[in-house]
Symmetry: none
DNA sequence: CCCTAATCGAGACGGTACGTCCGGTCTTTGT
DNA sequence: ACAAAGACCGGACGTACCGTCTCGATTAGGG
C-alpha cells in the first residue's frame, strides 16, 4: 500500500508534473486509494515527501577504504553526480525546497537522510586523523564543511549549472593542502 | 501602495506568522488593500516574495580594499551574520525555500540578489590575482565556491546551528593556504 | 443566482433524484456554481430546503368570501389537491420530512409556510363567528384542527393513498354539524 | 446482541444525542460491536430505526369496552399523551421523520406500527355501528380520520405545543355530534 | 472647476484542495 | 466459527484560497 502510493508520487514527478500540482487528492486518485489511506500514514504532504525522497534516494556509495583521500573522492563524486547536487534529480530538489518550509518535516529529513550522510564523512575524516592524513588538531566539523560545502553550494544556488568532472578532485586536494601546513590556523573546536 | 504591501508582509513574517499561512487574501486584508491591487502589481505570491526579499535584504558591506584577505573576511563575516546564513533571517530562509519551487521566480531572485553578490566575490578574487595574493592560474569560480560554500552549507542544511565567530577567518586562511602552494592541483578551468 | 440554484434543486427532484442523493456538491455542480456561493446564502442543506419548498409551494387560493363554508371548502380542497396532502408533491413530502430533523429549520418553515396558512383558516373561522355560521363560544384553534386534521392525517400517514373528491365537503359539513348544536361540548378555550 | 445494539441507540437518543449524529460507526462504538455485526442484521440506518421505534413503542392501551365513546376516549387520550403526539417522545418524532425519506422503510413502519393502531380504531368504530352509537351508513375510514386527524395534526405540525387535557373529549363529542344527525351529509363511501 | 478616466476597497464568483467523517465492504486477529 | 476491530475506497462535508470579475466610491488631471 505505502509502496503503491510512494511509487505513484515518484511516477507523477517523473512524468514532469510540477510539484505544486501534487495535491493529496491527485496522489490518492493516481494511486487508486482513498484520501484517508494517505492521511492514516502521513500527516500531510510534507511528511509524505520525506518518504518519497527516502524512497528515491540513491544508495550510499561503497567506500574503497584505501585512504581518506580516496574515500572523500568517492563521496564527493557521488554527491556531485547523484545526490542533492545532481541535475537529474531536479524534482527532488523541489521537494527538498518545499520541505524546508516546514521545520518539523525538515528536521525529520535531516535526521533520516542528511545526518547519516554527514556522519559518514565525519567517520572518514576521523580515520584520516588516525592514519596521519589529517592533522589531529583539525576540527572535523569544519573540515567537513570545507570539503562538502563547495560541492553543495553550486547545486543549491545554481541547480542548472554543470558541475565539471574534476571538481571533486580539485576540492579535495586544495582543502587537504590547506589543512596540512604546520602553521595551521585551524584549531580543535 | 507597494511600500505598504511589502511592509505588511515583512511585518507579518516578523510577528512569526508561518510562511505557509501567508495567503494573498491575508496579505491584502493586513495591508487594507483589495486583492486586485496586489494582482495588478505581481502575478502571484512568488513574484511578490522576490520583492519582499529584495526589500528586506541587508545592504552590501563596505569593503576595506586593503587586501583580498581582508575583503573576503568582511564578505564572509557579513554572510555568516546577516545573509542567507543568518539565523536571524530564518524567515527569509523560508521565503527562499519557497521560491525555489518556481523556476521563473528563482531565476529572477538569482539574477537580482545572488548574482550581484557572487560578482562581488569574483571581483575581489580577481583583484587578489592581480596583486599576487592568489595564484593567477586558479579558477576564480572554483575559488569562490571554496570560500563561500563552507559558510553557506551550514546555514542551508542546519539553519538553526550557531555559526562560530572565528569561522570566516578559519575558512579564508585554510583555503588560501590550500590555494597557495606551487604544486597546486587547481588549474585554470 | 439564488433562482438558478433553487430551480436546479427542483429540477433534480423532478427528475426523480432521491432526496438522500442531493448533496451540496451535486447541487452546486448542477447549478454550475461554486459551493461557497451556496454556503454564502444558506447555512446548510436544510436551510436551502426551506427556500426550495417555498419556491415550489402553490399559491394561496382565492377565497370566494361568500360564506365560511364556501371559504373552508376552497381551502380544504386546495389542501387536498395541491398542498402537503398532494401525491404530486411526493418530493416535497420528503423534503418536509427531512426538515423535521432540524428544529431550527423546522421552526423557520413553520413560521414562513405553515403559520400563514393556519392564520388564513383562523380568519375564515372568525368571520364565520361574526356572521353566525359558527357559534362564538367555539375555540377557533380547536375548530381549525377539526377541519384541517382529517385532510392532513391521510397525507402524512398514508401519502400514497388517493384522497376522494368529496372529502373536503364531507369533512366541512360533518364538523359544522357537530359544532352547531346548542348543547355543545366545545367551550371557549 | 440485537438487544444491546437497540438499547444502545435508545440510550443515545435519551441522552439527547441529535438523530443526525447517529452514524452507524458511532452506534457500533457505543454498543461495543463491529460495524459488520450491524450490517449483518440491518441493511442500513433506516431499517435499524424501524426496530428501534418498535422497541420503544408504548404498549397498546387496555380498552374498557363499555361503549364506542369510552373506547375512543381512551385511544385518543393515549395518542395525545404517549403516541406520536407526545412531546415526551420528541426523539421518536425525529426518527419518524427520518424514516419517511425512505419509502421502503416507511412502508415497513406503516405495516408494523401504524396499520395495527388504525385497525384498532376501525374495530371500535364498527362495534359502535353495531350497537347504534354510530350510524351504519357512515364511512368508518372517514370517521377514523375525523377522530384521529385533529389529535395528530397538532403533534405533527406543532410538536412543541401543549395538547390540552380535555382535547380528546372535545373532539370525540363534537365529531360524534356531527355524525349523528338524521340529515347527515356523510354517506357510505 | 468640472468631468472623464484610472484606481482603489470590497468582496462575490467558479473552482480546487484541504483534512475529517461516514457508508458499506472486506480482511485480519483472537477466542 | 464467528465476532471485534478496523483498514480500505469512495465521496460529501464545510472552510480557505485561488485568480478573475464587477461594483461604487474616491482621486486626478486635462480640458
Amino acid at each position: 500500500m505505502e509502496r503503491a502510493i510512494l511509487e505513484g508520487v515518484i511516477g507523477l514527478l517523473e512524468e514532469g508534473v510540477p510539484l505544486a500540482e501534487l495535491s493529496i487528492e491527485r496522489i490518492a486518485r493516481t494511486a487508486g486509494v482513498g484520501k484517508a489511506t494517505i492521511y492514516r500514514r502521513w500527516s500531510g504532504k510534507e511528511e509524505l515527501f520525506v518518504d518519497v525522497i527516502r524512497a528515491a534516494e540513491p544508495p550510499e556509495p561503497e567506500l574503497p577504504g584505501t585512504s581518506m583521500r580516496d574515500d572523500l573522492l568517492v563521496l564527493l563524486e557521488n554527491l556531485r553526480q547523484r545526490g542533492l547536487a545532481s541535475r537529474s534529480s531536479a524534482l527532488l530538489h523541489n521537494v527538498h525546497a518545499q520541505m524546508k518550509s516546514n521545520p518539523k518535516i525538515w528536521a525529520a529529513y535531516h535526521e533520516n537522510v542528511i545526518a547519516p550522510r554527514r556522519a559518514l564523512v565525519l567517520d572518514v575524516l576521523r580515520r584520516g586523523q588516525l592514519n596521519g592524513e589529517l592533522r589531529p588538531d583539525v576540527d572535523v566539523e569544519l573540515a567537513n564543511d570545507l570539503f562538502v560545502g563547495p560541492v553543495l553550494v553550486r547545486s543549491v544556488l545554481r541547480p542548472d549549472a554543470d558541475l565539471p568532472a574534476g571538481l571533486a578532485e580539485d576540492i579535495v586536494d586544495t582543502v587537504m593542502a590547506g589543512l596540512r601546513p604546520v602553521s595551521s590556523t585551524v584549531s580543535q573546536h
